[in-house]
């Protein structure tokens, strides 16, 4: 739920500063969190270039933030040890954007029961709610799946949960730290009037007849057809896997019925890039002949070529398989463009079959580098003995380092019901050219939520970074040294040998319960997306605003303003203003923070004021009583005279 008040809103592009004390992995993950905001909302981030208010991300003692834009100039947000998870960072930034926790909503008690007797003593205040004059749930129903919800055991004093959901099925749903839920995004969109993700371009699962505005290309001899199944395969689409009667469509180019040499062009609607680089992701089913091809082009438009120019990007290597295969293609369109899928029947092939496309997503992001698909993943989770690893193939990054992922499908010893995941460096006997210990490579292991729409995915990811100075515990050896030195030799399934270094990761990557939820497993398979990125540039300090045009107005306007007692000067509504220091039991105030006050002062003042008022009231009462008595005394004297006269 959000804090009410426009003054708490940030501009749509938020200036940030990554402080030097942040861990390198935390810096890298923070940048990944920003990418999720850009993909899924209209919130963008830019390095601080002198704006009056900005978010300073630093390594504090824990993970914390303020709620909303406090207009304090440098607003601090801490990503401390163990906070370097993407969902944790997104959570803290949602606070900064103006959101409290989900269970502090005014209508909280309709949906969860707080077990007050199970809460640690003194922690009850964490379960306060805000009424609807202070907070707004923005017309969005209570969301058990919010990444802003406490987990069921928050602040407990024993072993029993402190939060019991009124719908029991949500008991283990609350407290997810994977990704934004649909409702989180809806609220973010409503609070900031978002209409579109800033890096999102297009998504299509072909469920609607308009096929998302895609068109059949001109000059080809065959067409892509929207179908629910195709002769020769596939039997179902990938979005729904045929689970719903009357739905589940994909695009198919039938090479079985086409003539040799025929091409079919499927072109996306017009797209307008902002960043100049894109990632095209799609599922591809190849039941065509071995030589038939699928090629990706972009058709780019500019003033010189108003009809567009076709530019070849790459041929898809997807040999015929009875499987929907995931593909990524990196694009670099800088002007208005369309994505073009070109199917070609090259030679004679099977009488039935063809090329099929489904769940296309296009965004202005970088593509994941490597895909590891684990077939029959439910069975693997259920039947692999505890503490038994499986390994991804070794993947080699652009910089020439090879790594792989170790997965314990039934968890490491002592972690039943968990997926445990570790990243390992790998080296082969004759490898040369690498620097050891491996310097600053960030490895990310993402279990992909295979929802057809990229903005609705709640993938689970963890990143680790190779610190070349890190020593192994209880050893003089460097942890990320050459695997030939610190690792062990292993034999691959094809008989080749290589060296695998120690693993670095977590025993609690994801619970089985969550892994079986959403679309983490689809068609029986799980897909891990793996990347290794160089993050050595993050060891440098983020540049401070320097040029005169970038220099913030704050220092100039604050030049002649001296805030006392540790106060800082910021520009507020065009003028300098002191923000005064505040402690646990005291605070400073005044134009220059020149006055101080403590809670004791306040108490004494309140007491003195009360006693003064009481004293004044007593005096007034006594005076009043005295006056009344005197008046009645006089009156009674007068009555006596009258009485005497009457009797007389």
């Amino acid at each position: 739920n959000s804090i009410i008040g426009d003054k708490y809103r940030w501009p749509l592009t938020i200036p940030y500063y990554l402080e030097d004390d942040l861990e390198i992995n935390a810096k890298g993950v923070t940048l990944k969190a920003f990418e999720q905001y850009r993909l899924k909302s209209c919130i963008d981030f830019k390095p601080w270039s002198g704006e009056a208010n900005y978010i300073s991300v630093f390594k504090g003692n824990g993970c914390f933030s303020s709620v909303g834009n406090r207009h304090v100039g440098k607003q601090r947000l801490s990503i401390g040890a163990n906070c370097d998870r993407i969902a944790t960072i997104e959570h803290e930034f949602l606070h900064a954007l103006g959101f409290w926790h989900e269970q502090s909503r005014a209508d909280r008690d309709d949906y969860v029961r707080i077990m007050w007797d199970r809460i640690s003593e003194g922690k009850e205040h964490n379960f306060n709610t805000y009424d609807d004059t202070t907070s707004s749930s923005l017309g969005v129903p209570y969301d058990y799946g919010s990444m802003m919800h406490y987990s069921k055991n928050a602040f407990r004093n024993g072993t029993e949960p402190t939060i019991v959901t009124k719908i029991p099925a949500f008991s283990d749903v609350i407290g997810q730290r994977m990704e934004f839920s649909d409702s989180d995004l809806l609220k973010l969109h409503r609070l900031y009037n978002c209409t579109q993700g800033s890096t999102f371009l297009d998504s299509c699962d072909f469920e609607r007849e308009n096929i998302c505005g895609m068109i059949q290309g001109q000059g080809d001899k065959a067409d892509w057809v929207r179908v629910a199944s195709a002769a020769g395969g596939p039997d179902t689409d990938y979005s729904n896997l045929g689970k719903c009667t009357g739905s589940g469509y994909f695009m198919h180019f039938s090479t079985g019925t086409a003539s040799t040499g025929d091409t079919a062009l499927l072109e996306s609607r017009l797209l307008y890039p902002k960043r100049g680089y894109q990632c095209l992701q799609f599922f591809y089913y190849n039941s065509a002949g071995a030589n038939d091809t699928l090629k990706i082009y972009v058709r780019e438009y500019d003033e010189a070529n108003p009809s567009g120019t076709l530019r070849f990007i790459q041929t898809i290597d997807g040999s015929p398989q009875e499987l929907w295969q995931l593909h990524h293609v990196s694009l670099d369109a800088k002007t208005k463009f369309r994505v073009v899928f070109e199917g070609t029947k090259v030679g004679s092939g099977p009488a039935a079959g063809g090329l099929s496309l489904d769940d296309i997503n296009l965004s202005e992001t970088t593509c994941p580098e490597f895909i590891w698909r684990v077939k029959n993943f439910s069975d693997v989770m259920d039947n692999t003995p505890a503490n038994t690893p499986i390994y991804s193939p070794p993947f080699t990054s652009k910089e020439g380092y090879t790594f792989q992922m170790t997965l314990y499908p039934s968890g490491r010893e002592g972690y039943p019901g968990e997926l445990s995941a570790y990243a390992n460096l790998v080296a082969r006997e004759g490898d040369t050219g690498q620097i050891w210990p491996c310097p600053w490579k960030q490895m990310t292991m993402m279990l992909m939520d295979q929802n057809p729409h990229i903005q609705k995915r709640m993938s689970n990811q963890r990143s680790v970074t190779t610190d070349p100075n890190m020593k192994a515990s209880g050893s003089d050896q460097f942890f990320w040294d050459d695997p030939r030195k610190v690792g062990g030799e292993v034999t691959d399934t094809d008989g080749s040998k290589y060296f695998r270094g120690p693993g670095y990761g977590t025993a609690v990557y994801l619970t089985h319960l969550r892994a079986k939820s959403r679309d983490f497993i689809k068609g029986g398979d799980a897909i891990f997306l793996l990347t290794m990125e160089d993050v050595s540039h993050l060891t440098e300090s983020q540049p401070l605003p320097s040029s005169p045009s970038q220099t913030p107005a704050t220092p100039d306007r604050c030049l002649d303003v001296k805030c006392e007692n540790g106060g800082i000067c910021v520009v507020d509504e065009g003028g300098p203003a002191c923000r005064c220091a505040v402690g646990e039991d005291y605070w400073y105030y005044g134009d220059r923070c020149q006055h101080s006050r403590t809670y004791w002062d306040t108490t004494v003042l309140a007491l003195a004021t009360s006693l003064s008022v009481l004293g004044a009231m007593i005096v007034i009462t006594l005076v009043s009583v005295y006056c009344v008595r005197r008046r009645y005394k006089n009156r009674s004297k007068n009555h006596d005279i009258i009485m005497k006269n009457i009797h007389a």
Binding site: G62, C63, S66, R412, S473, G487, P502, G505, C580
Partner: protein, 41 residues
């Protein structure tokens, strides 16, 4: 077998934000919210 043992980044514990802050000795509003001067008053 690697000569160096595998390493758990979080000590093998599934620490939520509130657990991390509690271990750090923090007692923030709702576990991870910092109030400013105005709110504190």
């Amino acid at each position: 077998t690697p000569k160096i043992l595998d390493y758990d980044v979080d000590g093998g514990r599934d620490l939520d934000i509130f657990d991390i802050n509690e271990e750090a000795g923090l007692d923030l509003v709702e576990g991870d919210i910092v109030l400013d001067e105005r709110q504190t008053r």
